[in-house]
Symmetry: C2
Subunit: 341 residues, 2 copies
């Protein structure tokens, strides 16, 4: 009732019969005031619907409750899902996360970091563009603000790195593919946006050699983040040109694989494990759409949950002031066997 427009904490404190500093204390930590006081404040809160002014709060606090979450490309459901997961954890911990996407653009990434500074965030969870990131700017940012890098590794930056063990990914899938059919060829972009690609390629080579097979890498043209289109168009060209020595194609990531599956379909090449199929296709990531491709894509699943949990927990440690040790935490992937390979 009587939701008279309360202008500030002063007024609200008066109406609830508590002093302003105590009310202020309550908002910073409800547990820090006596139970009876808390009750009175909360009663008044329902009655008058007052909320402290964000800007006035943060102006004077040394450390805000703001967090930044930055991903390289939000139109990729993989990052959207990861971001969602991280966001929820931050909120649960009482922070106010803000989500940003670099949209695959270096300038935009720089701008985001820049405007993030002015938010005086307590910390930032950054999945950098990777290869196309402006190293100097990212490094400077990490030096000023507690930052946990995730997904995409950048050497010697931030408080810590949390990601996937891409070597293990490649090993796992290569072993599976070799065990169940021809050793795979590897399909990737010439200049991959994501540095994980490098580790996956190397992991592939190592695994192949260890098993006594000769690795074959097919690099296709294509810039940017439209992986599906690159997989379809350029992967399709490679396929039509007979560039793949194996009937089994391991793609650097699921989005590339999704596009490649489309190319196979266009060329009427049947994909799968059945005897009447000509080719097998596998990917990396367990992209949200991978189970809906035709055939469903066999892939290595990133541990979304573990990565987001670890990234957030590590950031909290950083915020609490632990020593910066450039720790790296990698999570293993799990083989997701579907019908494509």
């Amino acid at each position: 009732m009587a939701k008279n427009t309360i202008r500030n904490m002063e007024e609200f404190a008066a109406l609830s019969g508590i002093s302003r500093p105590t009310v202020s204390k309550y908002f910073n930590d409800p547990e820090s005031v006596r139970t009876s006081t808390r009750k009175r404040i909360e009663e008044a809160l329902e009655k008058y619907e007052y909320r402290p002014n964000m800007f006035a709060i943060n102006q004077n606090r040394k450390l805000t409750k703001n967090l930044g979450i930055v991903v390289p490309y939000l139109a990729d459901p993989f990052f959207a899902e990861l971001a969602r997961n991280i966001e929820q954890r931050c909120i649960a911990a009482g922070f106010r996360p803000t989500l940003y996407s670099s949209h695959g653009d270096q300038e935009l990434e720089n701008d985001i970091l820049d405007s993030l500074r002015s938010l005086k965030p307590a910390g930032v969870l950054l999945a950098p563009l990777g290869r196309t990131s402006d190293r100097a700017i990212v490094e400077k940012f990490c030096a000023d603000i507690p930052t946990v890098i995730f997904d995409s590794f950048l050497p010697d930056m931030g408080f810590a790195f949390v990601g996937s063990d891409n070597w293990q990914f490649a090993r796992l899938i290569v072993e599976y593919l070799c065990r169940t059919g021809e050793p795979p060829s590897f399909l990737e972009m010439k200049t991959p946006s994501n540095p994980n690609a490098n580790r996956r390629r190397k992991g592939y080579i190592e695994a192949m050699e260890r098993l006594g097979h000769e690795p074959q890498i097919v690099k296709v043209d294509g810039e940017g983040w439209e992986f599906e289109e690159i997989g379809r168009r350029e992967g399709g060209k490679a396929l039509a040109a007979g560039l793949f020595k194996s009937n089994t194609i391991l793609c650097s990531n699921d989005r590339l694989a999704i596009g490649f599956l489309a190319a196979c379909f266009e060329q009427k090449i049947r994909v799968g494990r059945d005897p009447d199929c000509q080719i097998r296709v596998a990917g990396h990531d367990d992209h949200p759409f991978s189970r809906f491709t035709c055939p469903p894509l066999t892939t290595i699943a990133q541990d979304y949950d573990a990565i987001s949990r670890c990234a957030v927990e590590t950031l909290f440690k950083a915020i609490e002031g632990s020593e910066n040790k450039h720790e790296t935490t990698l999570f293993e992937g799990k083989l997701v066997m579907r019908d494509s390979a």
Copy 2:
């Protein structure tokens, strides 16, 4: 060089030899100061790397430069793409947009609107959850803050609504399908999250009747926003049970269609226009992944660009104080013929 830590505008003004109020004026609108003055400020700006404190700025301004962008489900690339488009336009106009996703959750949508309030945004672009939105809360929000609703219509709310002409969508695709084969059955969820679904259904019925065909609607179970899975599992059940009277299935949206295509594949039913295909499938939206399904999905393309442009322009009008007229702007879709129908 000598990037001494400048604490505030006072210091920066002193260093650049300009008075603080003039510097303040410059930051609010660089064009509002004399050219010579602007030059001196900008020189100092490069030299000392000062940026005004966001919180102090917004504390005193009646109108901030903040904008809110809210979408119901960011892990859907359709919304991610739309959000990206809108975001860029806002930045270009000198605003600071912040992106939020309700993740399909009413409570979260309410929380977002609530915390958006405390940002004192100049305006908000809101794609509500729709059916599951808390009408009262959204309405109250719109009354307080200039808001343009987009994608999902809510009656009598906000400054204006911008979306797609879903009736026209259905008409267009039904006419095409009838012209080129059997009149379609319509596949949708029993309780669709998105209110566009209702208009699409009605548009379908109307178009069918006008062409002298009997409409058939197949409603499948399923809650939430995991449309692909619902399309695959429940759509697949309906397919196996022979519930579709037609060999042509029009899906309420592309994500449902993507899942349904997976179900067709599972049941070894060939989809497409070729003589050897048993079924045709079409969708609505031109989802970013629709061109990579197998076969590529025939659909009606939403005009992402027109919608985002119109929504942003309309919001700017609202911010400038035009009268609230509850205008509705709908954009037509374009038929995207691919191989699935």
